[in-house]
């Protein structure tokens, strides 16, 4: 596992627009987050994985909020802790609202390690059309921003903004989503 210095190097490269470094950073971050959430939500591996995904989107859409004069891991865990507290608050709210006294049972042992309860792909459908199209084409169908621009008639900067806004909305939806 990468240490603080290596992680920070990857992250800063990612901030400058390096795709491979961004992927490497998010992969390392996912491992740290998984350990963090699993140790705090014992026996609820899927909830933990939901939180990992939600926090990854948060780290990515809020990456400009990192102050390089402080440790990157402090930033990462501050956001992770915030997402966890927000999750527990929502869970408490839900418990009072509907799940009171319901036995949620044991987690399904057949779940794969990186299976989350909610499917981010289906949440995409809830986004406004422009944001959904931009994210789907660029982020999922691997088309370039230029191709997407030509296919949709939207300007390239419009598409970039739509992706950024869409991801932020997506993170909010991930938080509001009620896992069943």
């Amino acid at each position: 596992m990468a240490d603080e210095a290596a992680l920070k190097t990857l992250f800063l490269k990612g901030l400058a627009g390096d795709e491979a470094a961004t992927r490497a950073f998010l992969t390392e971050a996912a491992a740290l987050l998984r350990a963090f959430f699993r140790s705090r939500l014992r026996g609820r591996a899927e909830d933990a994985e939901d939180l990992v995904q939600e926090t990854l989107v948060a780290l990515h859409t809020r990456r400009e909020s990192y102050d390089p004069s402080y440790p990157l891991t402090a930033w990462l865990y501050a956001i992770a802790r915030y997402r966890l507290i927000d999750f527990l608050r929502r869970a408490k709210h839900r418990a009072h609202a509907s799940l009171d006294g319901i036995d949620v049972g044991e987690p399904d042992p057949d779940y794969e390690a990186s299976d989350a309860k909610r499917d981010v792909a289906t949440l995409l459908d809830k986004l406004p059309e422009k944001q959904r199209t931009a994210i789907r084409m660029v982020k999922l169908e691997e088309r370039s921003v230029k191709e997407t621009s030509e296919a949709t008639g939207l300007s390239e900067s419009d598409i970039k903004i739509s992706i950024h806004r869409g991801l932020k909305t997506l993170m909010r939806l991930m938080g509001e989503e009620q896992p069943t």
């Binding site: 998010l26 995904q53 501050a78 990186s114 994210i135």
Partner: protein
């Protein structure tokens, strides 16, 4: 969607991140909050009639309030981004409150025993209304600061709400000084400080609702 797929999707075609500029925005937010509070004092309460001769004490009280805001500002700024320690910034606030307490005690010692209570309360038969009025005048600045803060990423939202509340309280107290008829040191160091603390408490309560992201 698997986490690895999500990571691939997020990193695909990533652009250089923008560096948000915040200093100018924060300065504008604070100045606008102050102007609105001044306008509210001028329209709603009225500037004190002896403002011509009382320029010095009004300035002193405004300076005191500005100092309170300046002491809170570093904490508020630090809370804009995740993972930054508060350390000495909290200590500075504690120091400020401590100095206020000493100033209050010293000033009250200087009064004749039978006049102490009056000096503290702002005169015969009066009550420190600033504890109510400063928080009310702080509402516009607090709303603007909350709006400003929502563009950033506070992760300790209750504390951030308190910092926003206290900061807007300091700004509002600067405006309130134009109206405030009481000039005694013990009055200002006690009740202005308490009014700002009330703003902080209200901010902590409201902040956790409006600063979620």
């Amino acid at each position: 969607m698997k986490t690895d797929d999500l990571i691939n999707a997020l990193s695909r075609g990533v652009e250089p991140a923008e560096r948000p500029r915040w200093r100018m925005n924060l300065a504008i937010t604070l100045v606008v909050g102050l102007i609105v509070a001044v306008a509210l004092v001028a329209i709603g309460l009225g500037v004190r009639p002896d403002i011509g001769t009382a320029r010095m004490p009004v300035m002193m009280k405004a300076m005191f309030s500005a100092l309170a805001a300046a002491v809170i500002l570093p904490v508020a700024v630090q809370l804009m981004k995740p993972g930054r320690p508060l350390g000495w910034r909290l200590f500075a606030i504690a120091l400020f409150v401590g100095v206020c307490a000493i100033a209050t005690a010293t000033a009250l010692m200087g009064e004749m025993p039978e006049q102490r209570w009056q000096a503290w309360m702002g005169g015969e038969g009066r009550a420190p209304w600033c504890v109510v009025l400063i928080p009310i005048l702080a509402v516009p600045a607090a709303a603007l600061l909350t709006w400003f803060m929502r563009a950033f990423t506070p992760t300790r939202i209750t504390l951030t709400g308190a910092a926003i509340g206290a900061l807007s309280g300091g700004v509002s107290a600067m405006a309130y000084a134009m109206y405030c008829p009481t000039d005694s040191v013990a009055f200002v160091t006690t009740w202005y400080t308490l009014a700002i603390a009330v703003c902080a408490a209200l901010g902590a309560f409201v902040g956790s609702k409006f600063l979620r992201w």
